[in-house]
Structure formats: structure tokens, C-alpha cells
């Protein structure tokens, strides 16, 4: 992420340098020496070819395309145009009037920036060699040799420097990105740890409210395990504990999973529980799930021999229902906010429906 940002900034910088050189460097030289060329139109045409290559190379660089065929095709087109421009310079005036050599070198930097360093070295050598060949055609002498070496040292040094800097920056950026990533990982880990702790604490508090007093009373002997209400409270708390453990499981339909966990306790008592779903069920937030499963647990604990648990998708919401034979008719927890709970008794039969809508 970070390294990508660095890379992009550097790519833009290279594009600006190369385009700037083409406009200000090569362009101004072409304008200043226009009287010396045999054909200004030809020079201008070659200059335009390079400008097009630079435009194409810039697009490739900014889009992150670095395949060798494209890169080298552009490089060689630029070199051919630059060489043609150099060859058309007036004899003996090459070093003074040629703009192509320098421009071709910059095109090489642009299109070979993301290629191995040796490729740029090869390309710059090729450009120097062709220029030297044209110069040799016009006859070599000491002054022209000295001029050639001066220009070679000057332009190649800058072009190499830019490329080396790009490589170095890439390395630094990668290190910086690595550091940022590990910092983010540490931060995420501590956030997860905090959340896990908060969830544990919430569960501990929930147990304190109901399960702990019951256990304390059993331990102290004030609650009699032979008493039907005590036994029912135990079953209720056992179902809640099962539900609580199921809450942290990672499942596709957590509500169904939690209802299964609660139903398991009833099944151990010999209650036949069947669980059915109809239609697509929406995701239900944890707080809402707890209200719904609490109501379900109350009925599952009160069920004598059978219970049917159903979940039905209702457009944007869900209707969770229980039908059971529950002669005792337990008191259901009240609905809360977004959850409405309704019930109906028909003789021993108890029907309950908890509805929640996400809208």
C-alpha cells in the first residue's frame, strides 16, 4: 500500500522529468538551431515521434505495465528516430546541433525504469555507439572526441542516477511499508484482544446475574435440587451456558446454531425438538439474537414432551417461533425495542413468536 504510493510518486516524477526534457531541453535546442538543419521539418517530425513514444511510455509506466516487448519496442523506435535526426544534422556540427541522443537516453530511462538495470545500461550504450558511428562518418578529431566524451559522461551520469535513485527509493518504500504493516498488525491484534476481553467480560457479567446466584444457593444448600422450580432454573442456566458457548462459534447462520445449542438441553430431558427454517434468513445482530434465544430457552425449558422451533424469513426480517406442550405456561421475557414477542395458549399448547425486522 505504502510502497505502491511511493512507486507511483516516483513514476510521476520520472514522467515529468522526461517530458520536461523533451519540451525544454530537446525542444529549445531544436528551436535555437533551426537555421542550421538541412530540413527543419524532418527534425520536427523525428521530435514528434519521440514525443509520441514518451506519451505511450508514460501511460505504460503509470499503469504499471513493464513487459519487455512493449518497453523495448518503444525504446528502439525512439532510438531509430533519434539516430535518423542525428544523421540528418549538418556534417561536422553533430555535437552542437544534435538533440536526439540526449532525448533518446531519457526515453530509455522512462520505458526501462521498471526493467532490470542492465537493460538501461545496454540501451544507453547502444545510443552512444550509434551517435559515435555518425560522428565517425563525418571524420574524427581530438576536439570532437573530447566533446563526445563530455556529453556522454554528463547525460549518462544523470540518466543512471535517476534510475539508481528509483531503485533505492523502491527499497526504502518497501521497508517503510513493511514497518507500517507490522505496526498495523500489532494494532489489529490488540484491538482483537480488547474485543475478546470485552466479550468475555460481558459473558461473565451475564452469568453473574443468574447462573452464579443459583450455583451459590445450590452450594449453600438453600436451593433444593429436588424442587421442580430449582431443577427448571438449572436447565435454563445450562441452556444459557450452551447458547453462550455457541455464540462464539463461527457459523453461517448463528441464530440457528444457538437455537440448536439451546434445544440440545431440552432433548437431553427427553423433549422431542424439531427445528425448521423457511425461506432465506437475514443476518441477525448478536444483541437481538440473545433476546430471541432467551425467549426460546424459556419455552424449551418449560416444554414437557415436544417442541417445534421454526425460523421464517419475512422480507427484511425474521419470525422465530416455538410451539410446545407446556402446561405450566412460563412467563416470557418481554420483547425489547426492535423485537416483538407474542404468545398464545391453547390448553397445554403454547405458541410464541419473536419478530425482528432489519428496517
Amino acid at each position: 500500500m505504502l510502497s505502491a504510493r511511493y512507486r507511483r510518486a516516483l513514476n510521476i516524477a520520472v514522467v515529468i522529468v522526461v517530458a520536461g526534457w523533451q519540451l525544454a531541453g530537446a525542444g529549445s535546442q531544436l528551436a535555437a538551431d533551426r537555421a542550421d538543419y538541412r530540413s527543419v521539418a524532418f527534425q520536427l517530425a523525428m521530435w514528434l515521434v519521440l514525443a509520441v513514444v514518451i506519451a505511450a511510455g508514460s501511460v505504460r509506466l503509470l499503469r504499471g505495465m513493464s513487459g519487455w516487448p512493449g518497453a523495448w519496442a518503444l525504446a528502439l523506435v525512439a532510438l531509430a528516430a533519434a539516430t535518423a535526426a542525428a544523421a540528418a544534422c549538418p556534417a561536422g556540427q553533430l555535437l552542437k546541433t544534435d538533440w536526439g541522443w540526449g532525448a533518446a537516453g531519457w526515453v530509455g530511462v522512462l520505458v526501462l525504469l521498471r526493467r532490470p538495470f542492465g537493460e538501461l545500461a545496454g540501451f544507453l550504450s547502444l545510443a552512444a555507439a550509434t551517435t559515435f558511428a555518425i560522428m565517425a562518418r563525418d571524420g574524427l578529431h581530438r576536439a570532437s572526441l573530447a566533446g563526445f566524451i563530455t556529453i556522454l559522461a554528463g547525460s549518462a551520469a544523470i540518466q543512471f542516477a535517476v534510475t539508481v535513485a528509483a531503485g533505492a527509493l523502491e527499497l526504502v518504500a518497501r521497508q517503510a511499508a513493511g514497518a507500517a504493516e507490522s505496526e498495523a498488525a500489532v494494532r489489529a491484534q490488540s484491538a482483537i484482544a480488547r474485543q475478546v476481553h470485552a466479550a468475555r467480560h460481558a459473558r461473565w457479567l451475564a452469568l453473574q446475574a443468574t447462573a452464579a446466584p443459583l450455583l451459590r444457593a445450590l452450594a449453600a444448600g438453600t436451593a433444593d435440587p429436588g424442587d421442580e422450580t430449582v431443577r427448571r432454573s438449572c436447565a435454563m442456566e445450562a441452556a444459557r451456558l450452551r447458547r453462550m458457548m455457541a455464540e462464539t462459534d463461527d457459523t453461517l447462520v448463528p441464530l440457528m446454531h444457538e437455537l440448536h445449542a439451546a434445544a440440545d438441553i431440552a432433548e437431553r430431558r427427553g423433549v422431542a425438538v424439531d427445528i425448521e427454517t423457511a425461506g432465506a434468513l437475514p443476518g441477525v445482530p448478536p444483541g437481538i439474537r440473545r433476546i430471541i434465544t432467551d425467549a426460546a430457552i424459556t419455552i424449551l425449558v418449560a416444554a414437557r414432551s415436544r417442541a417445534r422451533v421454526t425460523m421464517a424469513g419475512t422480507g427484511a426480517g425474521i419470525a422465530v417461533s416455538l410451539v410446545a406442550d407446556a402446561p405450566e405456561q412460563p412467563r416470557l421475557p418481554a420483547g425489547h425495542g426492535e423485537v416483538t414477542i407474542e404468545q398464545q395458549h391453547d390448553g397445554d399448547d403454547l405458541w410464541m413468536e419473536a419478530r425482528w425486522s432489519s428496517q
Binding site: A278, A280, T310, A312
Partner: protein, 225 residues
């Protein structure tokens, strides 16, 4: 006394055949007589004597799902009550669309099979909870539109309430509950692929004033859109 309804059982699990036989026998009024038992469809078709009024059909015979055969079987004027081991909504809808009279999941058998067979013999609809579930789960845009009342009655029936309790809940009579649920079923019979068994169901439903002839045309033309 009326002639008993004859049934054939097509089922490859002997224990299921025994269960069905005992349900039939436990009907005090002896309204059903078991004509024959076959292990597969070939066995059913080669059975001697007149064809049974109703076929109780397992959908998985010899490890093979035979839902594709139902349309052909329903075309031979037999009334089919599907009695499979599962209740996936897609299969339920496909089986009913192919022309089965009713769909009873195995765990609904004790409560519903005898009544469903009798209803099928009279070309009357019988909607089990697994059928209600499949209709509630149906989101096909080409499916018929159910009224809010029909949907609510189906939902409460699916949830496990008795029809009397559904009536109390909705402040309507048990008879009206039955009417809502059967109307929903008839809307499905009037759409989808045509079958002689569905025509018989619809004709009887019009006679019983569950739906009017105009509604049948309305649903079919809607389905053909």
C-alpha cells in the same frame, strides 16, 4: 358403508411399509384398503388387478431420485401422495408441479398420511407443514401472488400451530383457516405445468367453493405471462 379407498405403496424400505400399514390399520373406520406394495415403479405398473386409487410414493427408490417420473405417473390418472425422507422446498415444489396431490415428509406421516390419502382420493388438496414451508420459501417471480391472510395462515401452520389455534390467532374460524391454506395450494395448482391430476384438484376446489372458475383463469394467464 362407502367403498374403502385403495392404495398402493411404492417403497423400498420394508420398515416404512410396515409403518404405513399400521397407520392404515389403526384407522377405526377402515377407510383405506392396502391393494399392493411394490419396491419400484416397474413393480407398481405390473401389479395385477385394478390400479389403486392412490399411490403412496417414496421419492428415492434403490438410491435413485425418481422425481422426474412423477409427471408421467400423474398422467395415468393415478393420484400420488409423495412420501419421501426429506423436505427440501425445491423438491416439494417440483413434485407438486409435476402433479402429485400432496407431499408428506416421513416425519409427518403418522399425523398426516392417512388424511392426505383420503383427501387425494377425493381430489381435495392436503397441505402439510413441509408444503407450507416450501410455499413460504418460494420466491419465484412467476409464482402466484398470495394474499397477506393466506401467507399468515401458512406461516402459523408451518410454525406448528393446530388449525384451530391458527384460527384463534387470526380471529377467524378453523374452516376459514383451511380455506386460506387450500387457496394458496390451489393457486399453485392453477399455475405451472398442466396435469390431469391438477385439473381434477381444481375442478373439485371450484365445486367446494375454495376458488371460483374466474380465479383459475386469472392465475393461469398470469403464469403464462
Amino acid at each position: 358403508m362407502e367403498q374403502p379407498v385403495t392404495v398402493a405403496i411404492v417403497e423400498d424400505h420394508p420398515v416404512v411399509v410396515e409403518g404405513v400399514t399400521s397407520w392404515i390399520d389403526s384407522d377405526r373406520q377402515r377407510r383405506i384398503r392396502l391393494a399392493h406394495v411394490a419396491r419400484d415403479l416397474a413393480g407398481l405398473e405390473s401389479a395385477p388387478g385394478p390400479a389403486a386409487d392412490v399411490v403412496i410414493l417414496d421419492l428415492e427408490l434403490g438410491g435413485r431420485l425418481i422425481t422426474g417420473e412423477i409427471a408421467r405417473l400423474a398422467g395415468t390418472a393415478r393420484r400420488i401422495v409423495a412420501f419421501p425422507g426429506h423436505s427440501e422446498p425445491d423438491i416439494v415444489m417440483a413434485v407438486l408441479d409435476a402433479g402429485a396431490h400432496a407431499y408428506i415428509a416421513k416425519d409427518e406421516g403418522r399425523e398426516h398420511l392417512v388424511e392426505a390419502v383420503l383427501a387425494a382420493a377425493g381430489d381435495r388438496p392436503y397441505v402439510t407443514r413441509s408444503q407450507a414451508k416450501a410455499i413460504l420459501a418460494d420466491t419465484q417471480p412467476s409464482g402466484p401472488a398470495l394474499s397477506a391472510q393466506e401467507r399468515q395462515a401458512l406461516l402459523l401452520w408451518f410454525q406448528g400451530m393446530s388449525k384451530a389455534s391458527v384460527g384463534r390467532r387470526m380471529s377467524i374460524t378453523e374452516n376459514t383457516v383451511r380455506q386460506y391454506i387450500n387457496r394458496a395450494r390451489m393457486k399453485y395448482a392453477a399455475t405451472g405445468r398442466p396435469a390431469p391430476s391438477k385439473d381434477a384438484l381444481l375442478a373439485r376446489a371450484i365445486e367446494d367453493q375454495i376458488i371460483t372458475p374466474g380465479e383459475v383463469t386469472m392465475y393461469t394467464s398470469r403464469a403464462r405471462q
